[in-house]
Symmetry: C2
């Protein structure tokens, strides 16, 4: 090993730890509910390091967190959807997994950006656009995924939007009730929606 960024301990660098801590805290406590001092403590980093790595302060840290966590979440969900061959079973399995994961984390780890998205929608234009960009990427990725089984692009897009929306809404209800049932019901509805769309595509001459 040379010198420089060798840490002896096997942990990420300060900048990464700050961003990871911010991701966790924003997801659980929201934007206004999370303090920079709290982030520094959770990251085990000195307070000043936040402004060293993120000169734009809380807004810059939050924007990078939204975009990074949003992209990571998209990859995670797509990998989950690709782990099952049949599309309807795949959607059902994805919602069931989300329900179990949510319960396993004490109903804390749902969507990484939804709380912040609602908080900033009317209060911070820069962050609002960041959340909008993330959702737009999710819809585009979902549209590509559904296009494998539903030829009409408009239908595929509508299915992708619906999956994201019903998942987001289910997260709200499941977290509030501390109950997996809403997420499971969401999975059943999304499966039904996809099944109908595939059937519809099977008989185009109507």
């Amino acid at each position: 090993m040379g010198h420089g960024q060798g840490q002896g301990q096997d942990r990420p660098d300060t900048r990464t730890r700050i961003q990871d801590a911010a991701t966790v805290l924003f997801r659980r406590n929201g934007y206004a509910g999370t303090g920079l001092k709290q982030i520094a403590a959770e990251a085990d980093a000195p307070f000043g390091s936040i402004y060293h790595f993120f000169p734009g302060g809380k807004q810059q840290l939050t924007e990078e967190t939204i975009r990074t966590a949003g992209a990571a979440y998209s990859r995670m969900v797509l990998a989950l959807l690709d782990s099952v061959a049949d599309p309807v079973e795949s959607v059902t399995h994805a919602f069931a997994t989300a329900a179990d994961d949510l319960e396993a984390t004490g109903y804390a780890d749902a969507c990484p950006i939804a709380t912040v998205a609602l908080e900033v929608a009317s209060t911070n234009e820069t962050l609002r656009i960041a959340t909008a960009d993330v959702f737009a990427e999710w819809v585009a990725a979902g549209e590509q995924w559904f296009a494998r089984w539903v030829p009409d692009p408009g239908t595929a897009r509508s299915l992708a939007q619906s999956l994201i929306m019903i998942l987001e809404g289910a997260f709200v209800l499941s977290r509030a009730a501390r109950d997996r049932e809403p997420l499971r019901a969401a999975g059943r509805s999304m499966a039904a929606l996809l099944r109908s769309a595939i059937e519809e595509a099977g008989r185009p001459s109507e």
Copy 2:
């Protein structure tokens, strides 16, 4: 006119103004993002009146706001659903109205409790339960409404949950993008879901 609560001006009493202001501000800026001083200013009430009428402070004010606004929103949506005879058209019309209302308010006035619900789900047990109670009442009311057209109670309940979830998720995406399209897509999906359920109920012997 006698004496006592005659105000000369025709405006609600102080307590009501405080609660109304809190409803508006929580909906737009969230729980942590709204200060009591801001609420007092918006209500045109002295700061001390908040603690006079709500001795439990911010938490008590928020809890009463969640429950009151939640019940009012439920009545509003049900009245909207009852304004059209055909159930599928009714659902479509309700989502279209929500989309237009959201756009008309600068994408600010969506669900009155969703932002707060996500913020408090992991941080304040009293408020988390208040939001859960409101959502449970919404599901129960929706179940009764769908039961008029779908005999199976489980299906009616699932439809009610799905409507609320897809509406909540659509609010998140529409507010983030400042675009009515997600809410419109949500309306189409919910209409499709209901149509399938009604058809299913029409041929019970399968």
